[in-house]
């Protein structure tokens, strides 16, 4: 469990989403999503499968356009940015895909160099090498540098995915299910990594997860997405003290046995 909430102050809002609506054909996934994330905070987003969590962070990253509503991140109106502006904005955020999305025709080294050399063109070969090795060290996979993604396990891919986003020192990290499908020990390692990123890089993070241990370990606050809206937002204790049955279900199904 984490110590205390960072200053939830109006001046400290780095991600501000309001009135977001997004449909795919007839299916309205996000109905009215509003959310503020404060600087330096780790926000955990919980929600049932298919509730639109991935869609939400893709909208935040500018990968999907919302039908209605505004997304303001680091002072940028995300869906109004032109190509240049969007690139400048994306240099400041990191995105871990649910599927890791490693470039499967490239080695781990090339995966990590890809964003680095294209965004920081004046780095020397030595600096690139050091950055790659450094970030691999921090995710605990220095030996995998010459492997290709298909030679890695799911958890290793997740960690390389994190490394690939960390290499640009993002101010905001968006994690889509960083611990899904991993063994408990690797989960703990990833949780530590997420907390380390928060501390060392001073990053603000949005963490999507189904894993309440991860939520508890990494989250300064928790928000619950249900039927296209956030129904609850607060610290882990606050949120799960509630009598709201939908919220209680998340907790109960995770921590009580189904005997």
């Amino acid at each position: 469990m984490k110590e205390q909430l960072p200053r939830a102050d109006k001046n400290n809002i780095v991600i501000s989403v309001s009135g977001l609506v997004k449909s795919f054909g007839q299916l309205q996934v996000l109905k009215n999503v509003s959310l503020d994330v404060y600087k330096g905070e780790n926000l955990v987003v919980l929600g049932r499968s298919g509730s639109g969590k991935s869609v939400l962070i893709k909208i935040i990253a500018g990968l999907l356009a919302p039908d209605e509503g505004t997304v303001n991140v680091l002072g940028n109106e995300v869906n109004k940015l032109d190509f240049k502006g969007l690139q400048a904005y994306r240099r400041r955020i990191g995105f871990l895909f649910q599927s890791s999305a490693l470039y499967d025709s490239m080695t781990v080294r090339e995966n990590l160099e890809f964003p680095l050399v294209r965004n920081k063109r004046n780095l020397s070969m030595k600096e690139v090498k050091e950055a790659v090795e450094g970030v691999l060290e921090s995710v605990g996979l220095p030996d995998s540098i010459n492997k290709i993604p298909s030679e890695l396990s799911g958890g290793q891919r997740k960690r390389i995915g994190i490394a690939r986003t960390l290499i640009l020192h993002p101010e905001i990290m968006l994690y889509d299910e960083p611990t899904a499908g991993l063994d408990p020990i690797t989960c703990v390692e990833i949780n530590h990594l997420i907390n380390k990123v928060q501390k060392e890089y001073n990053a603000t993070s949005v963490i999507i997860t189904h894993d309440l241990t991860c939520a508890k370990e990494t989250g300064d606050s928790v928000a619950i997405l249900y039927e296209g809206q956030f129904i609850e937002r607060g610290s882990f204790e606050e949120v799960f003290k509630t009598s709201n049955t939908i919220v209680r279900q998340f907790y109960d199904y995770n921590f009580t046995t189904t005997k």
Partner: protein, 272 residues
């Protein structure tokens, strides 16, 4: 936002101007034009992805050599064998080298090479980019503030546009070589005599028209493969569809362009 958001937005509109199918058709044409426009725009804007362009040239050019060699060679032999009876009826077998030269350089080499490239290179590009799209690798490039369009699409289009003309020249030469072997065994024509005859019947216009054709075909194959792959949707089935559409559409376009270019060249020829 990326090439994709336009597509996504449009598919969400539930009001159609005419009907769903007709709107989709024109939207498709609009998107293709925008795609091509973006290729032209980004070709000239630095930074350039030289390493990737060279890698793609190697894949498109060198990796196709075996197949086009075989096809060119066999086409040369077969075409010569099949043409001989008609010419010998008029006692004109000595015209074989010129006939072959004209047939191969003007028509066969560009068309055969383009069709092979459409099948081999086009499907490869469609499948590769398609699977990168559906596994979110292209999105991952976008969110890391790099330009996947330039890295993936522009480099491939440059590679096909440069390499298909070289392959066409190469196929032409290999085809003539095959033909020469056949003529040499049957008519005992010497190497120099054969090629002298063959080349004197080919004009500068023939060669330049073939190269222009080849450039157009190469560009078509690259753009079609990339467009299909880059805009693939709906999982692995979508990858299959992208690869398939890349081949079918680019072959169709190659035939269409062949007809148009032949008309234009035949119109110009007497003017020179």
């Amino acid at each position: 936002m990326g090439q994709n958001s336009g597509v996504n937005n449009a598919s969400n509109n539930r009001k159609y101007l005419v009907s769903a199918t007709i709107d989709a058709f024109f939207l498709g044409i609009y998107n293709v034009c925008r795609f091509i426009g973006r290729v032209f725009k980004e070709v000239f804007v630095p930074p350039y992805e030289f390493k990737e362009i060279i890698k793609q040239c190697y894949d498109v050019g060198y990796r196709s050599l075996a197949l086009v060699s075989l096809t060119g060679f066999i086409t040369g032999i077969v075409f010569t064998k099949q043409s001989r009876p008609s010419l010998s009826e008029f006692g004109a077998t000595s015209w074989l080298p010129s006939l072959i030269g004209i047939a191969i350089i003007r028509a066969l080499a560009p068309l055969i090479t383009a069709l092979i490239a459409a099948g081999k290179v086009g499907s490869n590009i469609g499948a590769e980019l398609g699977s990168m799209r559906v596994t979110e690798q292209i999105d991952a490039m976008e969110v890391s503030a790099t330009n996947p369009f330039k890295f993936l699409v522009v480099s491939r289009v440059i590679a096909t546009t440069l390499m298909v003309p070289l392959l066409v020249l190469y196929t032409g030469l290999v085809g003539m070589l095959g033909s020469y072997l056949n003529v040499n065994t049957n008519e005992a024509t010497s190497f120099t005599a054969f090629f002298k005859d063959a080349f004197t019947s080919i004009s500068f216009l023939d060669i330049s028209a073939s190269l222009i054709k080849a450039v157009v075909y190469g560009f078509t194959i690259g753009v079609t493969g990339c467009y299909q792959g880059y805009n693939a949707t709906k999982g692995t089935a979508g990858v299959g569809r992208a690869a398939n559409a890349a081949v079918v559409v680019s072959m169709f376009l190659v035939f269409l362009e062949e007809i148009i270019i032949v008309q234009v060249v035949n119109y110009i020829r007497p003017l020179l």
